[in-house]
Amino acid sequence: MTGAALKTPANDAAKNEPPMDYNRGLNYDENLLWEKTQTDHPGVDLAAPKNTPLRTGQGARDRIGLPQVSEPDVVRHFVRLSTKNFSIDSGFFPLGSCTMKHNPRLNERVARYPGFALAHPMQPASTVQGTLKVMFELQNWLAELTGLPGVCLTPAAGAHGELAGLMTIARAHALKGRTDKAVILVPDSAHGTNPATAAMCGFKIRVIPTRDTGRVTVEAFKEALGDGADVAGMMVTNPNTCGLFESDIQTISKLLHDAGGYFYCDGANFNALVGKIRPADFGVDVMHINLHKTFSTPHGGGGPGSGPICVSEELRPYVPNPVVLHENGSYRLEENGERSSSCGRIKGFQGQFGMHIRALTYMMSHGADGLRQVSEDAVLNANYVLSQLEQDYNVPLAGPCMHECLLTDKVQKEAGVTTLDIAKALIEHGFHPMTVYFPLVVQGAMLIEPTETESKDTLDRFIRVMKDIAADVRNGDVDKFHTYPQSAPARRLDEVRAAREPKLRWKN
């Protein structure tokens, strides 16, 4: 137990005192900013205003309620908070479908060059040739790696790339006069963003069942396709969310194309293919690339991401604007309305440039040779983990897998230890859990993606812990699993309470 026996000094509400921090060794109990000692001056030294009459046409703002904390206290606050986080820099993070690979610091350095960080998105093109060149070269790298020549960098994240891709497909059908193309086929194992995006784009969704096979079979696909008259396209993740390559994908994409539909590939799992297999060569028409997965831009605790889309020559006229053009030796962004076939703008300005430059830095670091090694090592690492754990855990779908492997809690559940318990036990042993309960089509799923940036030694330690967990369960030593984690900065959180009585902000 973490300090449970020691009592936190009580806050004397009558004296209106702020609550006390209560620390143990290097474990900090950090209050909210509003509960800290408030100062009488800002933590930033600013020029004194002259208090000239306002030309806003309105009175000045009254009290906002912001905290007022000194600079040293601000630094200490956030540094203490940071110690409560698990991160890829501090440990193994085998989150399936998330590609938590090493985030090189060189990317950060380059993104902070003043020429990039202090460039404004609406400057005249003649003054920002350097940033435009970065974007143009990134477009070319992505086109070469996917085999899809049309690249649009504006989407802000993977789900936003999906929106861009489906809007591109919708626009293509509309301009080709195919008015009855209203349905998107989505396997039941898809990421939630796929059906959510299709709905946001005004499409109806028809589900392809994969529950029993783990893959989209030609038979199930044909059934969902029907005569194909109303099918605008399909959204398939390949390798799929079970970590398997869709082995019938060429046949399926041909059937889809014959019916006048387009193949949208969710690029979340591109790390298994990069530098070795080009999605265009298995029939993909549109694909988003998560720069924050495959190309190492940091996840930042939930963003920013970046989700450029790559499309076939046929779909190129329809992608969102703007894209970067290279003409007569100089670079420029498309003007608004210049390409009337475009499906429109989906974001302010031209995308998450700060992520574009990080991704390009990473790509150049690896080069054609390194990127190929990336996918090979990622697949090798996943299969190694699978081979070492298949005796201890249920493997619902036979391997080899691609860059991630899928286990379930089928065996352990009989003893009352679930996927959730195993995840929390991993926390107790210093690892970030794998992705749990996803894909939804596999009960008690545990999806493990080691990535190529983990050493064999790290994998062996992880395997050891997973084997120990399985052994403890086999030996009936199960009670402790329900108490994990005990050594983390927090114990299990009461999510029911959070949802029943939502408390979403601090209030005085």
């Binding site: 703002r61 009290r63 060189l106 003649s126 959180l493 902000r505």
Partner: protein, 425 residues
């Protein structure tokens, strides 16, 4: 190859453990014709020095905001970022963490998101705020979609001059689902889901909302207030009349970075929380009864609700929200208001200088950005001024939209006014 730890011996040993003769055996499900023949047609790997030389060269080709007088705004503003901000957001534990789905080992991220939400709610005069959206333009489009869900109506009306990118993004999002949208013609009807008022608007004009509130109440529509300069909320009254307040918070802590990543924010009345887009962080307790934070109300979101989700958004702008929270913590109540006033005063000084140089300021009211009228094409003037190392503003036909911030020195203002006078007929 510096990011790859496996040795040749490791690879051999692991293949043996797997029982595969080669790595390609692991790719056996991939059709033969889908493999690339040889390597991609791209350069080979490079060391840090080579990359810094090459990309450093690209960076040097830009004329960035630090290089000379700079008066361009139009939804992205050049502000000073305290050194502490960049230090904190580069802490490994923040930079390289994942979305806080495992709350026991993500309290750092969760607590700052809670603080961020609290700050946004306070700034906007709203009851609740989410943990960020991509940017101001997409936040506004999400607000329109949410208003349609809340009111079960299908028409969106805009009541001020909206940033053209915001307008285009709104068009795209609404066209996807066949919803109506139009500029305000003085009347709202029983199909109107919401009125969107941007303040300051694209030309810098400031609005008040009492009249809009009244019209919305009469028509049963929601009032959506948008701002693309969140610093304005340090000087202008809080838009408490609004049902949804959203926009762009890049100005606090986030670099311009050629247009992103920036920071969309989204706040609204508490009764609408189940229709909100994006992640929400909430307070709760852990098994020891200690206060803690979790992502909550997730049943709105795509990973649970799939095609019935309130939005498809998953990844948001977490680290930018941290930059904002750190910067605003440093400023505090007084600093934020002082910074807002300084911005306004720099803009007033700029307006005075330009008036003295013979230009007409079109605005009756403004915060830190306003519009002047030129005799002739403003774009040509902007181009001409770049030759003198001055980034002048955003041209719209014969108008120039100009922003001043705390970064605009008296010398910059004088140089700009003189150069602009020289460049216009």
């Amino acid at each position: 190859m510096r990011y790859l730890p496996l040795t040749a011996q490791n690879r051999k040993d692991m293949l043996q453990a797997i029982g595969a003769a080669s790595v390609d055996e692991l790719f056996k499900d991939v059709p033969k014709t889908a493999f690339m023949k040889g390597l991609a047609d791209l350069p080979m790997h490079m060391g840090e020095m080579e990359i810094e030389r090459k990309l450093g060269g690209y960076a040097n080709e830009n004329h960035h905001a630090g290089k000379g007088p700079f008066f361009l705004g139009a939804g992205c503003y050049y502000h000073h970022i305290p050194s502490t901000v960049d230090y904190i957001i580069q802490r490994s534990e923040f930079l390289t963490a994942y979305t806080p789905y495992q709350p026991e080992i993500a309290q750092g991220t969760l607590q700052y998101l809670y603080e961020f939400q609290s700050m946004i709610a306070m700034l906007t005069g709203q009851e609740v705020a989410n943990a960020s959206l991509y940017d101001g333009a997409t936040a506004m489009a999400e607000a329109a979609l949410m208003a349609m869900r809340v009111t079960k109506r299908s028409k969106v009306v805009y009541g001020s001059a909206i940033h053209p990118h915001y307008h285009e993004v709104l068009n795209s999002y609404l066209n996807n689902i066949g919803a109506e949208h139009e500029a305000h013609d003085g009347n709202l009807d029983d199909k109107t889901a919401c009125v969107i008022v941007q303040s300051p608007d694209f030309f810098g004009n400031v609005y008040s909302y009492a009249q809009w509130r009244k019209k919305c109440d009469e028509a049963g529509a929601l009032l959506v207030v948008v701002t693309n300069e969140i610093l304005s909320l340090g000087l202008l009254p809080a838009p408490v009349e609004a049902d949804i307040v959203c926009g762009e918070a890049q100005s606090i802590g986030v670099a311009m970075s050629f247009g992103g990543p920036h920071l969309g924010f989204f706040a609204c009345r508490e009764k609408f929380i189940r229709q909100m887009p994006g992640r929400l962080c909430g307070e709760t307790v852990d098994a020891d009864g200690k206060r803690g934070f979790v992502l909550t109300l997730s049943t709105r979101e795509q990973h649970i609700r799939r095609e019935k989700a309130t939005s498809n958004i998953c990844t948001n702008q977490g680290l930018c929200a941290l930059a904002f929270t750190v910067h605003l913590s440093l400023l505090g109540e007084d600093g934020f208001k002082t910074l807002a006033r300084l911005n306004h005063e720099r803009a007033c000084a700029l307006a005075d200088a330009l008036k003295a140089a013979g230009f007409t300021v079109e605005n009756e009211s403004f915060f830190n950005e306003f519009t002047i009228r030129l005799n002739g094409d403003a774009k040509a003037v902007v181009e001409a001024l770049t030759k003198q190392g001055i980034i002048a503003g955003y041209p719209v036909e014969n108008k120039l939209i100009i922003a001043a911030t705390e970064m605009s020195s008296e010398e910059d203002i004088a140089a700009f006014a003189a150069a602009l006078k020289g460049a216009t007929p």
